[in-house]
């Protein structure tokens, strides 16, 4: 399982890459592997919306299941990856690159402290 060292991770299997006060987020390699072939992605917020940490920002549907994606940190949505609408399979192919979901202008960078680093995420105990 690929877990890049320069990212932060949430217990809901979202990753976040921080550049200044803007964070880019997506779902992890582990998450895409669990879901299997992704067939549909819907970002359920609009650019300019402000969402809190833990609020639903996207729905990802695979041949096996549908899952909500949550905001790893709160803030204003500054960009949405429109490419995923036509090519949801990008999440399976490149979860940390082309398949980013949204960019967030963080409201409070202290929320990052509650997220995990790569090692902690890798060793996270799974109940399944």
């Amino acid at each position: 399982m690929n877990t890049p060292a320069d990212l932060k991770y949430s217990t809901n299997d979202e990753w976040i890459r921080v550049e200044g006060d803007v964070a880019t987020m997506g779902i992890t390699d582990y998450a895409q592997d669990q879901l299997s072939d992704i067939v549909f992605v819907e970002i359920v917020a609009f650019e300019g919306d402000s969402l809190e940490q833990g609020e639903t920002c996207a729905v990802v549907e695979s041949v096996k299941a549908a899952a909500d994606v949550y905001m790893p940190v709160g803030g204003e949505i500054t960009a949405i990856n429109q490419q995923l609408v036509d090519s949801p399979e990008l999440i399976n192919q490149d979860p940390y690159g082309n398949a980013w979901l949204i960019k967030i202008k963080m409201a409070d960078s202290r929320e990052l402290d509650g997220l995990m680093d790569a090692d902690t995420y890798k060793n996270l105990e799974r109940d399944h």
Partner: protein
């Protein structure tokens, strides 16, 4: 008889809620309302019962026995005998909803063909497998528009010339949703330009009927453009037969097309079961309620059909569902599929022309009767409003004396239109029937 709960189950449940016996649950009912004595007559034989029922049924009057000019949403069209023959085949008639594609290929193929026909007829990218009736379809269109903007746009604009019953259904459906529904109180004479003035950035949906409830046909281009300028959705409710003659709503860039499918080979039968048509653009396919059958190939590469798309929320994320409709009107959709297949493209065009010409002949004859006028300005299809010298209700009463089922008394829904009669003419009305109608109106106007 199978009763799912055992006596022990029932006792356990009563114990938990702290009630001794089942009857205690009905304590709040007044005594005289409980277990009233039914004064039913003595039993009769099947032969006697049938005789009595047949006698009662003679009180009905049907368009087969009367000359009918009644439309207003349900139309008297000819239904080829083959429609019923195919419909009544037990493979179709007794089939359950097609969850198991391996045993439901016939039903699934019929749905797929229905969808293809409706998409072609409306000019839209995709049609769902149908809804229960036109009213359900328009309500689902409002619902879809509301959820498309995730509740951010809270205004729905309804033309006052959408069928009043459909508008009522929309209100029932959306009761409890924080929505503002406007436009209905505009004058019935108003047209698309009057609706444009109501559109703003809070508008989720603009909905019109085409031809409208009064039979009028408007060019909807400007209204559609104005709607899209505010990033709102544009929905058009159609009469499917009219599309054999007039531009499909896709040419006005409609986002949603709904329709009452009853004219497509479905008997009027006291108001139902009917058929709700619902089509949209591909980009909204995931927002569409109901189900969709798709064509695919099986493991051997052979063509097959399967339920391709249900809004996922309805089955696996029900708490997120935006509609509770996940089924379709299977048998009636099949009837319309058979009907459209029998007519074909040319047949439908011919039928639409026939309706148009007969209605225009009737309008001309009626306008020639002193005191009766038909608005000569706005184009219409097979239905038009007649202004009467006396209340429309009285006109209908006079006509019935001659076994003519007159038009629809618009005063029932529009308080200012008590003298307006909505008259529908289809291929079923002969020239002599139309002449007879005009003659009776003339005769009665002298009284």
């Amino acid at each position: 008889m199978y009763i799912s709960h055992t006596q022990a189950d029932r006792e356990a449940m009563l114990k938990i809620i702290g009630v001794e016996k089942l009857e205690d649950l009905f304590q709040c009912l007044p005594d005289e309302g409980k277990f009233p004595e039914l004064s039913l007559p003595d039993g009769i034989t099947e032969m006697e019962a049938l005789d009595e029922l047949q006698y009662i049924s003679t009180a009905n009057e049907t368009p087969q026995e009367l000359v009918s000019f009644l439309g207003a949403g349900a139309y008297n069209h000819y239904i080829p005998a083959a429609v019923d023959s195919i419909l009544m085949r037990s493979e179709f008639y007794t089939a359950y909803t097609p969850y198991q594609p391996e045993i439901a290929q016939g039903t699934l193929q019929a749905i797929f063909e229905y969808q293809s026909l409706i998409a072609a007829l409306t000019g839209m990218d995709v049609s769902n497998a149908s809804h229960y009736d036109g009213a359900t379809a328009v309500a689902e269109a409002v619902n879809m528009a509301y959820h498309n903007f995730r509740g951010r746009k809270k205004k729905i604009i309804l033309s006052p010339s959408i069928h009043p019953h459909y508008r009522e259904t929309i209100h029932t459906y959306m009761d409890g949703v924080n929505l503002e529904i406007i436009g209905e109180d505009l004058s019935p004479e108003s047209g698309p330009d009057d609706l444009i003035k109501l559109i703003d950035d809070q508008t989720a949906l603009v909905m019109v009927q085409y031809p409208d409830f009064f039979g009028r046909i408007y060019d909807l281009t400007k209204l559609s453009t104005a709607t899209h300028e505010q990033k709102s959705l544009f929905s058009v409710h159609i009469n499917p037969i009219s599309l054999g003659l007039i531009k499909p709503p896709s040419e006005f860039d409609a986002d949603i097309v709904t329709g009452e499918g009853q004219p497509l080979g479905i008997p009027m039968s006291f108001g139902g079961p009917y058929l709700g048509l619902f089509a949209t653009k591909k980009q909204y396919v995931r927002k569409m309620a109901g189900r969709l059958a798709g064509e695919t190939v099986d493991t051997e590469g052979k063509r097959g059909y399967v339920l391709t798309l249900n809004t996922r929320e309805q089955h696996i994320r029900r708490e997120q569902a935006t509609s509770n409709i996940c089924t379709n009107q299977g048998l009636i959709a099949l009837a319309s599929t058979v009907y459209l297949s029998l007519l074909g493209k040319n047949g439908l065009q011919e039928l639409a022309r026939l309706n148009y010409h007969k209605a225009h002949y009737a309008a001309e004859k009626i306008s020639a009767v002193p005191g009766f006028t038909v608005n000569p300005v706005q184009p219409f299809f097979n239905e038009f409003v007649v202004h009467c010298p006396v209340p429309a209700k009285e006109v209908n009463q006079s006509l019935l004396k001659y076994d003519i089922l007159g038009g629809y008394d618009l005063g029932q829904d529009y308080p200012d239109l008590t003298h307006e009669l909505l008259v529908a003419v289809t291929e079923m009305n002969t020239r002599s029937e139309i002449d007879f109608l005009a003659a009776v109106l003339e005769e009665e106007s002298h009284d």
